[in-house]
């Protein structure tokens, strides 16, 4: 069950193009599993920004003088994320979490490939750590448009089996995209599962490549959300259920992690004709 807590900023540090915020969040670390996210209220109680912002949980510290804290990675996209990146030590912060369905971990000791696009690598640190604890291989591929948009290259080396970097401009690692080398990585490490977090386009390609190479895929999506707790119905996308029926499901509580082969990636932003309730129309 998620909690709403009044936390406090412990530290804000710049990492490449991003800001990493450490915040006290008593009770959240012990509830967090890899892939969970939090939402943060923006601008204080009289804010003109009424919607919370969602962030994958990057790291947790269960103990310590603060009664538990966690880290999130913020990319500045607008006024809300700019406000967050400008917080300073001791500033109060309203946090709700952990939210969403986390990554499903394999029961057996299988090889896993973890793919992160940009700061989509944020939730992969906890995941790699837990996979290694279970005796699984965790081979990581991080990609971005350029070197400054990569996140956590040095830190993830401590928890992963191998690390491969791609940048579209070739400023670090291989020139190209994560998906250019995903297929061969799955074969090379004989991976059973591919975990991914990043932009929708990347996730669509990751899911397709994983299926082609007979690997199971777990994709954490980034849909814009208003509430993060399942009440507003804004973050929906078409997903095929166990019964073969497509439904518009909420990425905040039915996700953000979905089986890659169940998301109708090409149809995101539409209501496919065969979706449950599509015939009733969406005109109202």
């Amino acid at each position: 069950m998620p909690l709403q807590v009044k936390g406090e900023i412990l530290d804000v540090r710049r990492v490449g193009a991003y800001s990493v915020l450490s915040v006290t969040a008593p009770g959240l670390p012990e509830r967090t599993r890899p892939g969970h996210f939090v939402t943060i209220g923006i601008g204080g109680e009289e804010s003109s920004m009424v919607l919370r912002r969602a962030f994958a949980i990057h790291n947790v510290q269960e103990r310590g003088v603060y009664g538990g804290s966690l880290d999130i990675v913020v990319g500045v996209h607008g006024a809300g994320t700019r406000w967050l990146s400008e917080r300073r030590r001791h500033d109060p912060i309203d946090i709700v979490g952990p939210l969403g369905r986390p990554f499903v971990l394999p029961k057996e000791r299988v090889s896993c490939v973890l793919v992160g696009g940009g700061y989509g690598s944020a939730p992969l640190f906890l995941l790699a750590d837990q996979l290694r604890e279970r005796g699984c291989r965790a081979d990581v591929i991080l990609g971005a448009s350029s070197e400054d948009k990569l996140f956590g290259v040095l830190e993830i080396k401590r928890v992963c089996s191998t690390l491969t970097i791609t940048t579209e401009d070739g400023s670090q690692g291989l020139r190209g995209r994560v998906t250019d080398i995903l297929g061969e990585s799955i074969e090379k490490f004989d991976a059973a599962v591919v975990y991914a977090c990043g932009p929708m386009g990347m996730l669509a390609s990751v899911a397709k490549i994983a299926t082609e190479h007979r690997a199971y895929s777990q994709c954490s999506v980034e849909e814009s959300m208003a509430c993060g707790i399942g009440v507003c119905m804004t973050c929906v996308l078409p997903v095929v259920g166990d019964d073969g029926v497509t439904r518009m499901v909420r990425s905040c509580i039915d996700g953000p992690v979905f089986r890659g082969d169940r998301v109708r990636w090409a149809d995101i932003g539409t209501i496919p004709e065969d979706t449950l309730g599509a015939s009733a129309g969406g005109s109202a």
Binding site: Q4, L51, S224, A226, I229, G230, M233, L276, G282, S283
Partner: protein, 342 residues
């Protein structure tokens, strides 16, 4: 609960609310507390029950349910705007049968006062939903969302036409249990909201929800197209609060006795108090739930303090208080520590 830590979130006030009578009513619907959720902002209450005890507030107004399951509109469905947001969900929902089986059953078992919001594309659809709800257990009242397009009349919104709005209310009244209060939810997007209010009351509405969102639009300056897939959307949040307070005020003046559920951008107890002073018998909290999931209980507690600070002994004393003719006409004085005479 001995030491009153009410609510599960830290922003739900951790002190005992003052000892004032918070009971109110919407016609023959008795409410133990005056703050409810607003339709479409709390689903069916279950998610919020994780953050505060949902039975501690006045009730839940459920997301508008239609006759059949409905997928709604494509994304993007939402845009943040100054002190508010636009939404264009398109009434995604499970349909009335699944709603009764799952959501209503949970609310009933949990003991929540439940106002079921219904929506339809035709008068007949409203009638059929009402029939389905008639024998369901746990319906405290029905809120009729008439801000939907009438598929039989060029998609004109029912709420904007007194005749169309009246036909819907008549149909719901006729097909519902006569003891069930019927509350019509009005749209502010009309020339004279009191005209619609009077029409739906004549048609059998036992109360009014004031108000729904107002239509808005945002253009994405990067794509240079409308941001929402549905092009236009309903504007909600503190940005529209003064419009909503004005609507409550005008309707209270026109219809001194009609029960009003007031809503529109309520963010704290003082905002809720404005609605009550303007004439609302109870209030709903909507968009601010997205900002703070404990908002309904927090606002209810803040309202109790705000009433107490102004010397009111009950929420009922404050209803329509801003309409009083002269300050001498009442015994209320701003001495909260001393008992005020009646």
């Amino acid at each position: 609960m001995s030491r009153a830590i009410v609510g599960r979130g830290p922003r739900a006030i951790a002190v005992e609310p003052p000892d004032i009578d918070m009971t109110t009513s919407l016609g023959n619907l008795h409410l133990v507390k005056p703050v409810l959720t607003a339709s479409g902002c709390a689903s069916s209450g279950r998610e919020l029950d994780q953050f505060f005890d949902i039975t501690m507030i006045g009730g839940v107004v459920t997301k508008s349910v239609m006759l059949h399951p409905r997928a709604g509109r494509p994304t993007p469905r939402m845009a943040e705007t100054p002190s508010g947001m636009l939404n264009s969900i398109g009434l995604q929902g499970p349909g009335v049968e699944s709603f009764i089986e799952r959501d209503l059953a949970w609310l009933d078992q949990r003991g929540v006062t439940t106002v079921v919001s219904i929506a339809g594309g035709s008068v007949d659809e409203f009638s059929r939903i009402s029939q389905k709800l008639r024998n369901a257990s746990g319906v405290s009242a029905i809120e009729v969302n008439i801000s939907c397009p009438n598929v039989e009349d060029r998609d004109q919104v029912f709420a904007c036409n007194p005749d169309a709005a009246s036909q819907v209310i008549q149909a719901v009244r006729r097909h519902s249990d006569p003891r069930t209060p019927i509350v019509a939810k009005l749209s502010p997007d009309v020339t004279d909201i009191t005209e619609i209010a009077q029409a739906v009351v004549r048609a059998g509405a036992s109360g009014l929800s004031v108000m729904n969102t107002t239509l808005g639009m945002v253009i994405d300056v990067d794509t240079m197209r409308p941001l929402l897939a549905g092009v236009t959307g309903g504007l909600s949040g503190p940005a529209i609060r003064p419009i909503a307070v004005r609507c409550v005020w005008q309707i209270r003046k026109a219809l001194p006795d009609i029960p009003i559920l007031g809503m529109g951008g309520i963010r704290n107890g003082l905002d809720a108090l404005q609605f009550i002073l303007a004439g609302a018998n109870a209030v709903s909290v909507g968009t601010m739930i997205f900002h703070d999931p404990s908002a309904p209980l927090r606002i209810q507690n803040e309202l109790a303090h705000a009433l107490n600070d102004r010397g009111f002994k009950s929420v009922r004393e404050a209803i329509s208080y801003a309409h009083r003719q002269s300050d001498n006409a009442t015994v209320l004085e701003l001495h909260p520590d001393e008992p005020s005479g009646d």
